[in-house]
């Protein structure tokens, strides 16, 4: 507590009171987040067996990790699958939300309406409704694969596949387009927060910069690349990190699903813990890498 003693007494009193304010949260955090977190790390390094008196842990070192990487049939596939979807989706979401944000940032009638419209998915997607929507007909039919009887009865909302067939487009092309079109719901639904972040970033750009570039005779295109994008530097990092986190934490992706199945259905706790920890480690590395590269390659040059 050295840092407290060096300060004047008023300050010290303030600090003490301050930590009282913090106390309820700290207790909750320790009890329901931190301790479980440590415990689950411990799970991932040991073999958990259920006995009559509770759980028993035997330390096995890296065995669980070895198992999921080299012996478990699906884990690596799921991991790669998640990472590729991620690589496909993030750029699209990024560009899409930047475009929408730039349009919404200009003045026109009804922009408040559109802003709140695009935010609606955030509200719905986090809550109970999404669970129903995804568990019930609507989203299944939007995301489901065609030709499957199961999906056929639930009904495709807008039947793109059929539409393409009628237009006489070869199936290989149509199925590819179909996949992306189907994904549009998915993609646009994830843009809500990013759009808001981009708008606030855009509004922070001083207007004088645009005036200067106009006086210098820059075209709109140059203005975008040399004024807007560099000024958005921090926002861009934030949006990318946010998308990575949102994507990785969502229960929809394959790794989390698999870990959840192992946990709930097969009740092998240590494997499930190891699966999730390895995954989080990779995600954390990715975020770190993005930060580093972006700082190195872009932010320094722009500022």
């Amino acid at each position: 507590m050295k840092f407290l003693q060096r300060r004047p007494s008023v300050e010290r009193k303030k600090n003490r009171n301050g930590f009282l304010f913090c106390l309820p949260w700290c207790i909750g955090f320790l009890l329901f987040f931190f301790i479980p977190l440590i415990q689950s790390i411990a799970f991932s390094f040991s073999k958990v067996s259920v006995t009559t008196s509770g759980f028993e842990l035997d330390f096995v070192g890296l065995e669980n990790y070895y198992y999921i990487l080299f012996q478990s049939p699906e884990y690596v596939d799921n991991l790669l699958d998640t990472l590729t979807t991620f690589g496909q989706q993030i750029p699209i979401i990024f560009v899409l939300s930047l475009i929408i944000a730039m349009i919404l940032n200009s003045k026109f009638k009804g922009r408040t309406f559109f802003r709140s419209l695009y935010f609606i998915p955030v509200i719905i997607a986090t809550g109970v409704v999404m669970r129903y929507l995804s568990g019930s007909v609507a989203l299944q039919s939007m995301q489901g694969s065609a030709g499957d009887l199961e999906t056929a009865y639930t009904g495709t909302m807008v039947n793109f596949q059929q539409f393409f067939e009628q237009m006489g487009i070869p199936e290989s092309v149509s199925s590819m387009v179909f996949r992306y079109v189907n994904d549009i719901f998915n993609l646009i639904w994830q843009c809500g927060v990013h759009i808001i972040l981009f708008i606030s970033g855009l509004q922070a750009i001083p207007q004088s910069l645009y005036e200067v570039s106009k006086v210098e005779g820059a075209t709109k295109w140059e203005e975008f690349w040399f004024v807007t994008i560099p000024c958005l530097g921090n926002t861009i990092v934030l949006v990318i990190v946010y998308s990575v986190i949102e994507f990785c934490v969502s229960t929809g992706n394959a790794v989390i699903q698999q870990a959840y199945t192992v946990l709930q259905k097969q009740q092998i706790y240590h494997i499930s813990a190891a699966m999730l920890w390895l995954y989080f480690l990779i995600v954390a590395c990715m975020i770190g890498l993005i930060f580093y590269l972006f700082n190195r390659l872009c932010l320094k040059k722009w500022q």
């Binding site: 913090c22 509770g54 559109f114 609507a138 909302m157 808001i196 972040l197 870990a259």
Partner: protein, 288 residues
């Protein structure tokens, strides 16, 4: 303002460009609302239209049957339906209230006191945003066992203490909207910590508080007992509704009706808090 209008003029120079922009906005907007519209429309479809192949988007003969069938479906439950409603409301309000109080107090400290401890805490909070609940499910259950709250209302409520998202949002917003000078002035005038908290910090962080109310409401509304509640009389609405939605094709109409009904409260809360939410979310991007 003058500058802005000048920029506006430049932007709207080309009619065609404007048209394209607007078209894009509307198309994207359509995609956002389509699932909602679809679920509302579907909830009015009679059974034969639900099962029609090829499926149609719009309903031809709308009726209320899916909704009027609900009381029947809910009448032969073990516990009276009203009990679930009570549980739902009680748990939601308890969780939202608790999270709100705890988060705003902690955020107040993190915003006002700057030293190594609070900095470390904030870093931890940011990292904690990364983790998925699944990781913690089993150890959390063990802790519930140890403090003996399994099969009580506390299982729903207490874990809410650990929320980090709220602190993050509220703290970021406080940094932006409460000038340190104001706090300093209040202190010179002789206001204590509690006084500063209640009469300066709370009113000024109202947008953030409303936003967090919304998010916390979403989550609380969706709380399901999971594996920690066994008595039927303590379960919440989602578990009852879940039994309807998962009971087969013939009830898919009623399932959709349930979905639509459950969707209403969150959307209502959103409509009330809407303008504040957008404002606060834009502060989330400010680096501290």
């Amino acid at each position: 303002m003058k500058k802005r209008s000048a920029q506006y003029k430049r932007f709207t120079r080309s009619r065609f460009g404007n048209f394209v922009y607007f078209l894009f906005l509307i198309a994207a907007g359509l995609f956002t609302v389509l699932p909602l519209v679809y679920s509302v429309v579907t909830s009015f479809k009679p059974l034969d239209e639900l099962l029609a192949f090829p499926p149609r988007f719009f309903v031809v003969r709308p009726n209320w049957k899916n909704y009027t069938a609900l009381p029947d479906l809910l009448s032969n439950l073990e516990v009276p339906f009203i009990r679930y409603v009570f549980n739902q409301l009680f748990v939601t309000f308890a969780v939202v209230g608790l999270q709100l109080i705890v988060s705003v107090m902690a955020a107040f400290v993190l915003c006002q006191v700057k030293n190594k401890v609070t900095k470390a805490l904030f870093l931890i909070i940011q990292f904690a945003l990364l983790y998925n609940g699944t990781t913690l499910a089993v150890p959390q259950y063990l802790i519930y066992c140890n403090i003996g709250i399994i099969d009580t209302y506390w299982v729903y409520i207490l874990p809410g203490l650990a929320s980090t998202m709220g602190i993050f949002l509220i703290k970021q917003n406080m940094e932006a909207s409460i000038p340190p000078v104001l706090i300093e002035a209040a202190r010179i005038d002789g206001a204590g910590v509690w006084r500063i908290f209640t009469s300066i910090v709370l009113p000024l962080s109202k947008p953030a508080l409303l936003t967090w109310t919304l998010f916390s409401f979403q989550n609380a509304w969706a709380i399901q007992s999971g594996n920690s509640i066994f008595s039927e009389s303590l379960k919440t609405l989602p578990s009852v509704m879940g039994s309807i939605t998962s009971s087969g094709i013939s009830r898919s109409g009623s399932a959709m009706a349930v979905t639509v009904l459950m969707m209403i409260p969150p959307i209502l809360v959103y409509l009330i808090t809407q303008s504040n939410v957008l404002e606060t979310m834009s502060h989330a991007g400010i680096k501290d």
